[in-house]
């Protein structure tokens, strides 16, 4: 657990860098969180993050396939925006918990 002051807010991140209190999230915070992963967020990135937050807050689970069907980005674009593990990375910047696949 880490205590940080990011974008003027005191936030707690878990050991993997995920925001503990999702309600603290805003766009400025997202940009700062992304910088930790060497990523500069564009408007397209933010559009994806908002979709993730809306879906998550509606109680639906997040999958790469669902993002691909969102109309916001295709799966290929999603990978370009958030390289390697797009869902894990974008969830982190969206201030959401680490996605878990159910086994």
């Amino acid at each position: 657990m880490k205590d940080l002051n990011i974008a003027g807010i005191n936030v707690k991140l878990d050991d993997e860098g995920y925001l503990i209190d999702s309600s603290q999230w805003n766009e400025e915070l997202a940009k700062e969180l992304a910088k930790i992963d060497d990523l500069e967020l564009t408007d397209k990135h933010l559009e994806v993050l908002k979709f993730l937050r809306d879906t998550y807050n509606a109680g639906d689970s997040l999958t790469i396939r669902r993002v691909g069907k969102s109309g916001v980005v295709s799966i290929k674009e999603f990978y370009k925006l958030f390289p390697k593990g797009p869902l894990k990375l974008s969830s982190k910047h969206a201030g959401l918990p680490k996605p878990t696949s159910c086994v």
Binding site: T63, R65, T100, S101, V103
Partner: protein
Amino acid sequence: MKKIVILGAGTAGTMMLNKLHKILDKEEWELTIVDQYKTHYYQPGFLFIPFGIYNKQDVIKPKYDFFPSGVNVIFNEIDRVDGENNQVYIKNGKVLNYDFLIIATGTQTRPDETPGLEGKLWYKDIFDFYTVEGAVALHKKFKDWEGGDLVMCISEVPFKCPVAPLEFVFLAEAYFTQKGIRDKVNISFVTPMSGAFTKPVATKMLSELMVEKNINIVADFYIERIDNENKKLISYDEREVSFDVLTIVPVNMGNDMVERSGLGDDMNFVKTDKYTLQSEAFDNIFVLGDAANIPTSKAGSVAHFAAEILTENLLSAMEGRPLKAKFDGHANCYIETGYGKGALIDFNYTTEPLPGTFPLPGIGPFGLLKNTKINHYGKILFRWIYWHMLLKGKELPIEANMTMAGKKKQ
């Protein structure tokens, strides 16, 4: 007469039918089950077919053998559920009214979701083992295969029986070793997940087993398409994996009927309360087994444990009482590891698989997260239990909700 309709006569639906037939007053309740197919498959047995351990006859029986007398059976395709009017439309034009509906239509493999999967190599060099046809075709391929790159790929999560691909590579490793050509077979396990399994303690144990058996793990690989010409898997971030023989778990989705009924998520799994097993849309619709979108394994053991909770809640709902029984996501899976050994995992929504003994604390006889011969016998015995006890809704000596007794906290 009040009516209960069960959609789907697979493992979950058949178990539920037998349970309800036993406990409900036949003067008061009429039971109907609907399924489009007449054959019941023992799906855990598919895994053994490619290696010649089971054949087709070992895994099929008529569904009729498992239905109690005095219930209505309809063998036809389901068109849709009209939850507002408590009706089910059958493809032949028949309409069924219900007081309570149980959806148990399962999950299906959808090879058409991955471009190139059903191309010219399908059932020649590319196989699934989630259908009896695929498993039999792969058995024929393996009989005279002389070696090369064998790739096991998971297309998407969630999918049915999450340990099956692991078992497949372990059994393949043993099979080619026993054939004397293991040095010519390069085995890779390709997964969209970050490791062999999703939960840390089990992943560690299984990853060590993979290393010991010289099986490569390619993690975080999300397949986009298959290049049939060059025999390669290509991911969305343009990584490539070459294969000579590919065994794949196609994308899994719920029945299209769920989509037509407006009850599902974007993978056609029914939106379900993970504790009460009631549909989110209608109070008199319940969901059992793989058809539900609850965050646990899609596996027969889950359906078995959930069936007890569902029965309790259904009885409450019939009497207008609150739904008190809460499902914990309990799953229990044997993992075949080859050479007559197996491992066992037991977990739920909140507790990951841990080491220990099962079902009796300190005694077993089964070892959790341990690779033993007795675990393998458990799996072999299970086929008998499945046909003779489980489907018929008989009590098994295992609690529906998971217990921490016998487990070691890490």
